[in-house]
């Protein structure tokens, strides 16, 4: 078997799927957000007009939560590198029949795979909400593109950060400090059109907004005005983040 695929299998078996509690958290949390918070807020939030359509708050929230979960799942790439450094498995692997390039790529592909799987399960469980929606081929491209680019961007970002982290405390602190503003300064929880201008400005610079808007376009046929620009920006930022992660990765001392 190809050495990259062997590494990928290792990441899934020893990394992502070895901690059952993590899998449960990754699946249960978004369902709580969608079914509990979504329906709770929907009682007080009337139907809203987003882009070109009127939709319920639950439908608006669901794609945002899926994308947010992609961001959290992608952070596992950084966590896996951090754990590999801490348990000296990183050095053990790069003295084996693998290149550093294969190592970093396996991390990103594994979290992409995990992200797509998580999203599919969440969509499946949330399918009663989605009854009546038709996803076109173009829409499917938006969905897959959003999930993959989101994984690539956030996976690369967390990998690059993990290169420089030296302690567990720093690792946890950085991710908490980074992810909280990313979550709330985005279009995950609310449409940006009516938000204060400062929040709008910050949110339009946030790749999580692009991924959420792209997923809504694919799933709900809701198109925000800046969607084409957001897609280009997300592609460009994902490529840049991957390049930064690759360069930073050279600095990892085994």
């Amino acid at each position: 078997m190809n050495s990259f695929l062997r590494l990928l299998y290792r990441d899934l078996k020893a990394g992502l799927w070895s901690t059952k509690s993590m899998i449960v958290v990754q699946l249960v949390t978004p369902l709580f957000y969608i079914f509990v918070a979504g329906f709770g807020y929907a009682a007080v939030i009337p139907k809203m007009i987003v882009g070109n359509r009127e939709i319920s708050y639950v439908l608006f929230l669901a794609p945002g939560i899926v994308v947010m979960q992609i961001m959290f799942a992608a952070s596992m790439a950084g966590a896996m590198l951090w754990i590999d450094k801490r348990t000296a498995m990183f050095a053990q692997i790069v003295v084996g029949p693998f290149s550093r390039w294969q190592y970093i790529l396996s991390k990103l592909v594994s979290i992409m795979f995990q992200g797509l799987l998580n999203a599919s399960i969440v969509f499946l469980i949330a399918s009663p909400l989605l009854v009546g929606l038709r996803v076109s081929v173009e829409g499917a491209c938006y969905i897959v593109g959003s999930l993959m680019l989101g994984s690539l961007f956030f996976g690369s970002l967390t990998l690059a950060i993990s290169v420089f982290v030296k302690s567990n405390e720093a690792f946890n602190a950085i991710f908490n400090v980074l992810f909280t503003p990313l979550m709330f300064l985005s279009s995950v929880y609310y449409p940006l059109e009516k938000a204060p201008i400062i929040i709008q400005a910050a949110s339009f610079a946030n790749p999580l907004t692009y991924a959420a808007d792209m997923l809504r376009a694919g799933l709900l046929q809701v198109y925000v005005l800046l969607l084409p620009i957001e897609i280009v920006a997300l592609i460009a930022e994902s490529i840049i983040a991957f390049a930064v992660a690759t360069v930073a990765f050279r600095r990892v001392k085994p």
């Binding site: 590494l7 290792r10 070895s18 348990t87 000296a88 053990q92 003295v95 029949p97 693998f98």
Partner: protein
């Protein structure tokens, strides 16, 4: 196949102003166990990391299995095995799965993996712990797992960086014997340690390194002969005092005296010619009324030679 498994020439690695490895040159022949000995911080692990392509040399050259470590790492890595000094394991998988996954990473077929897992669990005394995850193992068990894991795949050259750290004497012996078996099957071993007893037991040739420089390189026997070059007189007295110590120190032919560090150790007198020194020792003891309870002459151990070499000032390569 290249003539030597490892060949270095003026290999050097600097961290800023610190020279961790300083122009070392040596060859490791195919099929031998080459011991790389030195105190902590001598440059053993740094050398190992350069040879295993983890660190890039600052200057000098090194080839492993005929390939340059700086430019042909991709050709070297699939053919070597490495047991690092740092403990490493898949923390979330139990012992059995750790072994199996490692074999899988090296593309060992499933049937063969199963066979090897059982063999290694038996050999390294890990059968009872096979379903236990590494964080719940003792330090010695984790080390055994790490060493055993490297035997899941075949290799031509194995780097063992202080592989017996944390092992009890029995596990240490099992590990060394297993390595010996592999050597009989044609594997070359680069063995890093600071435990001289191990080096004497397993190594065909040794290099002693300190402050990044090689101080001695030869077979264990020749190193002892060339660099020991002395006899060690083991002595015990019913009473030992400063007067007697001064007398012994001033005897012609006495190189140095090593006082016992523990209660049950003898006094060691190092002399080029024991026969020439012995009458002086006996006379000095008689003159001061000190009763000799034990007297024997021995060749210096590798430990003695090692301590003498690393403690000697200058540490010039010889």
């Amino acid at each position: 196949m290249p003539e030597c498994s490892i060949e270095t020439s003026e290999l050097t690695l600097r961290y800023g102003t610190l020279t961790a490895v300083d122009h070392i040159s040596f060859k490791v022949q195919n099929g031998e166990v080459f011991g790389f000995l030195g105190p902590n911080g001598a440059g053993k692990t740094t050398t190992t990391k350069m040879l295993t392509t983890l660190l890039r040399p600052t200057s000098g050259k090194a080839s492993v299995l005929g390939f340059d470590v700086a430019s042909e790492g991709g050709k070297i890595r699939p053919r070597i095995g490495v047991v690092q000094q740092e403990q490493s394991y898949e923390y979330a998988l139990n012992v059995e799965r750790n072994l199996d996954l490692y074999g899988f990473l090296w593309d060992v077929p499933k049937k063969e993996r199963k066979k090897r897992v059982e063999l290694l669990l038996d050999k390294f005394g890990l059968q009872e712990a096979r379903k236990t995850k590494p964080p719940e193992l003792s330090m010695g068990q984790r080390r055994r797992l790490q060493v055993a894991r490297e035997f899941m795949h075949d290799c031509e050259l194995m780097f063992l960086d202080e592989p017996t750290t944390g092992l009890d004497p029995q596990a240490r012996r099992v590990t060394l014997d297993f390595v010996r078996d592999k050597v009989r099957n044609g594997v070359t071993v680069f063995f890093t340690t600071h435990i001289m007893e191990e080096a004497e037991y397993i190594c065909d040739r040794i290099a002693i390194i300190n402050h990044g420089r090689i101080l001695a390189l030869d077979t264990v026997k020749n190193v002892k002969h060339k660099f020991g070059g002395v006899s060690v007189i083991h002595l015990r007295f019913a009473e030992y005092n400063d007067d007697l110590d001064h007398r012994l120190q001033s005897l012609p032919g006495v190189q140095r005296i090593v006082h016992p560090q523990q209660k049950d150790e003898p006094l060691k007198v190092f002399a080029e010619d024991a026969n020439a020194v012995l009458p002086g020792i006996i006379n000095a003891a008689a003159a001061l009324g000190a009763h000799i309870t034990e007297l024997r002459v021995e060749e210096p151990s590798l430990d003695d030679v090692f301590v003498q070499m690393v403690n000697s000032k200058g540490g010039e390569a010889r």
